[in-house]
């Protein structure tokens, strides 16, 4: 059963990723990415990381991709020409690079499979909110603070960049 679910989700993830890269229309690309993220969240569930599965949807699909869609709609980007309309050397090179990196990674991962990889039994506990939260607020307190700082700075900076011509010194409320 779980094998079938995995195969389904994996095929969905890969197909939506490919569709995202190939799609001419930017909105379609964004929606395929959302589909990809949702299927990844499903895979997280298979790995018993429930908290991250939910967070994946909440943050990626619910926030980041909505922002993407907003920007795409705002800019009203027109369709590109299809990737396959014209062959370019660039594509070939990119494809080769991709294949090379992939085979290299696969080869490296092959060394891992000697280690009897399975979902550890303690993962049932480790994937819960409590487990993640406890570590997050004790061991990883400092990065947590810094990430809060980063998010504040990012919003602040993004406002500054995206706003149209605020005069320095002018109040901008």
């Amino acid at each position: 059963m779980i094998t079938y679910i995995f195969v389904f989700l994996a095929v969905l993830a890969v197909a939506s990723a490919l569709a995202m890269v190939i799609s001419k229309n930017t909105v379609n690309s964004a929606l395929f990415l959302v589909l990809n993220m949702v299927s990844l969240a499903g895979l997280f569930l298979l790995l018993k990381a429930q908290f991250l599965a939910v967070i994946q949807i909440l943050v990626y699909a619910g926030a980041i991709m909505v922002l993407f869609l907003f920007v795409i709609m705002l800019l009203n980007v027109e369709d590109e020409e299809s990737l396959f309309s014209r062959f370019r050397v660039k594509y070939f090179v990119a494809f080769l690079v991709g294949i090379a990196v992939f085979s290299q990674l696969l080869y490296s991962i092959g060394s891992f499979s000697e280690m009897l990889p399975e979902v550890a039994p303690e993962m049932t506990e480790a994937g819960t909110v409590e487990a993640v939260g406890e570590v997050l607020y004790s061991q990883y307190l400092l990065p947590f603070h810094i990430i809060a700082l980063l998010l504040t700075a990012a919003v602040n900076g993004a406002l500054m960049i995206a706003q149209h011509k605020i005069k320095p010194g002018a109040s901008n409320d």
């Binding site: 705002l74 800019l75 149209h164 011509k165």
Partner: protein, 429 residues
């Protein structure tokens, strides 16, 4: 987007020339305001609101140039309900024209009748009996309440509270019933006649009016209770569509729109017609000039109308309701049915009608619910007016709308239309 774009972007399918001139006007308007913003991202678009739109009170058409949710410029296009009423009048006797007046501002037909009658009476020097004056006043004030009730319902509905519409319509229904008993018509009543009114108030009608006058203040209080302290309603109306006094005068706004802008002009008080000089009432006036001010003005006017009706009922004199002069008014039905002369007079009235002196002209205006409603009549000595002009309040008030819309938000558009309270039949004639 520079202004050239707007015209190129739209491709009108009908009335091409007119449409293009409209878009031109949109571009020309406020040429003093330079568009410094050369941002390719600014979300300007031209929104065509109406003439078929659920919230524009008929066939008003607004062309809005939007920047996001903000209205940068607005252009009004009126005339979709033009029926040539003024021209029709030239082919009708004065009395025959009466039903047409009902159909200009169809929310307050009685006031229109009275306005037209007084104008004709002025040009033809017709004396009107006392009792008729009072009946006309009662009718006018009732129609004022009816008109304001409709304004209240639609305006509140425009802000989003749908049920209010039905509550105010229940009250209007009572007024319709009263009109039914007064003149035999619920809506287009045509009760006033040149030289008086068609018939005396029946006892039924009087009783109903008394009942209404006693009950309505309580309803009004309920309306106040629902709206005055409703924060959402308050916030949506306050500071919206501000029309300064000077601007209102320049544009020629009248009625509650003008009084909401702080100019206490009311013809009932300044140039009393009928017997308004004999009753006591206040002229509700607000200084703010925003939509909330107009709301208060109209609400208080309803109070004043009730007060006037009460006084009229108290003072209602006995006597005839139509002038006895057979050259100036229809004889009563008794005379027509039972005397030869009466029948001849009736025949003459219907055939030729009242003939004001040749070359005379008159203008008379009254305070209709929407503002100053005036009829201008030129006579060539026949029973038809040579020229007839209507100074309609909606037309004047709509001119203020363009001014008020600039710089407001799209969501305010409908409220402002509601606040100005135009009736397209009145404006387009």
């Amino acid at each position: 987007m520079d202004t050239k774009h707007i015209k190129n972007d739209v491709d009108p399918k009908f009335l091409k020339k007119h449409q293009e001139s409209l878009y031109d006007a949109l571009e020309d308007k406020h040429t003093t305001v330079e568009i410094l913003d050369e941002d390719p991202l600014n979300t300007k678009m031209v929104l065509n609101m109406g003439p078929q739109h659920p919230a524009t009170h008929g066939v008003l058409r607004l062309i809005l140039q939007l920047n996001g949710e903000l209205i940068e410029k607005a252009k009004l296009d009126i005339g979709y309900l033009h029926r040539g009423i003024e021209k029709i009048a030239e082919n009708k006797t004065y009395q025959e024209f009466m039903p047409y007046t009902d159909r200009t501002d169809y929310l307050s037909p009685y006031s229109n009748n009275v306005a037209f009658c007084t104008a004709v009476e002025k040009i033809a020097n017709v004396e009107v009996p006392e009792r008729a004056h009072y009946i006309r006043m009662i009718g006018s004030e009732l129609s004022r309440i009816s008109s304001h009730l409709l304004w209240l319902g639609t305006m509140v509905q425009d802000t989003g509270a749908v049920s209010f519409f039905l509550w105010t319509f229940r009250e209007r229904e009572k007024i319709y019933d009263i009109f039914d008993h007064i003149g035999g018509h619920r809506f287009t009543i045509s009760h006033a006649r040149i030289g008086g009114v068609a018939n005396d108030l029946t006892d039924d009608a009087l009783a109903m009016i008394k009942d209404f006058v006693n009950e309505f203040p309580q309803e009004l209080k309920d309306f106040h209770g629902l709206l005055d302290r409703n924060r959402i309603f308050f916030d949506r109306n306050r500071g919206v569509g501000v029309l300064p006094t000077e601007r209102a005068l320049e544009i020629g706004a009248t009625g509650p729109t003008l009084r909401g802008s702080g100019y206490a002009y009311d013809i009932r008080d300044f140039e009393p017609y009928a017997r308004y000089d004999e009753v006591e009432f206040e002229i509700p006036t607000r200084l703010e000039g925003d939509n909330l001010a107009r709301y208060y003005v109209r609400m208080e006017e309803m109070h004043e109308s009730i007060r006037i009706i009460r006084q009229c009922l108290d003072k209602l004199p006995k006597g005839p309701v139509r002038t006895d002069n057979a050259k100036q008014a229809y004889p009563s039905k008794d005379e027509v049915y039972y005397s030869m002369e009466g029948m001849i007079h009736d025949f003459m009235m219907t055939d030729t009608g009242i003939c004001p002196p040749e070359g005379s002209e008159s203008f008379h205006s009254i305070e209709a619910p929407k503002g100053e409603l005036g009829y201008f009549i030129q006579s060539n000595g026949t029973g038809h007016p040579w020229r007839l002009g209507i100074k309609s309040p909606s037309y004047a008030n709509l001119q203020a709308l363009e001014d008020m819309l600039d710089g407001e938000m799209v969501a305010d558009t409908v409220i402002m239309i509601g606040g100005v309270d135009p009736v397209m039949g009145d404006s387009d004639k």
